[in-house]
Symmetry: C2
Subunit: 192 residues, 2 copies
């Protein structure tokens, strides 16, 4: 009601709401449902109409994050060309979802008690497979495990999103910064 035509028929773009929620929760993980709603520009009642509760909201965010990551991986064509180029494409494609990822990565309590969402393991596997491919082709060093490189990718993407939010790094540079750091660190070097 602050920025809109007041009334009603404003179908509440579900994706838009989820994105706002992710941004708010990234900024403050303990945000109230009311804070999340306000950040998305709607009332707590309406937010609650679209997501049964906080748990449902978080799970929807998780689903969205997984979808976006899978889409990014598909678009990046991880199996084509050099592993290095594929990794660069992946980082580029995954950048729009960085904020969402930054939140989900820190939300490790999701996996408490509940079975770790199989969607995440599938993502992990695909990324790890990419790093392994690079290791087998001789592009990447083998003394940094694929599992660690996968974790590092998540961590750097999250750090990047956070750095941009805080204005420490320009948004247009962050994709390059992540790719250069990760690829530079993973690449096998000729010179000692």
């Amino acid at each position: 009601m602050s920025q809109m035509a007041y009334g009603c028929l404003m179908p509440v773009d579900r994706d838009q709401v989820l994105r706002s929620a992710a941004a708010q929760l990234t900024r403050k993980g303990s945000s109230t449902m009311d804070e999340v709603a306000r950040a998305a520009g709607l009332s707590r009642a309406t937010l609650h109409r679209h997501f049964a509760g906080r748990d449902a909201l978080i799970r929807a965010l998780e689903e969205l994050g997984i979808q976006e990551c899978e889409a990014a991986m598909d678009a990046a064509r991880l199996d084509e060309g050099s592993a290095q180029a594929a990794l660069r494409r992946l980082i580029k494609e995954i950048e729009p979802a960085a904020g969402l990822l930054a939140f989900l990565v820190t939300e490790n309590q999701l996996f408490e008690g509940d079975a770790q969402h199989e969607g995440w393991s599938r993502l992990d596997d695909r990324i790890a497979a990419l790093f392994r491919r690079g290791q087998q082709s001789g592009e990447f060093r083998i003394d940094l495990s694929a599992a660690w490189l996968t974790e590092a990718l998540y961590g750097l993407v999250g750090s990047g999103a956070w750095a941009v939010l805080d204005g420490r790094v320009a948004a247009k540079d962050i994709s390059y910064m992540i790719a250069e750091l990760l690829i530079g660190g993973a690449r096998r070097r000729v010179e000692s």
Copy 2:
């Protein structure tokens, strides 16, 4: 009472409690005071006797984290030798505080409204200065800003702590993994 002599005179090692609290809060950021107390092996009442409230506990954790980081930096002698070697020493020294750092980094809501604790900026400055020194000496590439490398260091240390907690990387390897990835990515390379 589960592992102790029941009774009383168990002076409650403040540092020990803070460490348990950090571990618990890293695992689940929304842990209750009761959960934190149980994880530390004491009752909620006693926890509350030593830390006036949740805020006080978090602030104490922050203080401890800053202290440990400063101590690590002092021990690492950031100004001596090559920037690369200094960075390697820093990562080694900072490793024991990784879990604590992993929590504090995600606790960005600390800086909401309140003035960002000046201790953190001092730490940031010291690390950034190290990276700048490496850039000026020609060891590190200049197209990755010192600010980004600083953020990346925090992110990788956090990811490392998380990976170890989850059993994805062996604790004994994590220091090497972080150092190699970060230094490899930051280093200026001769071969293109």
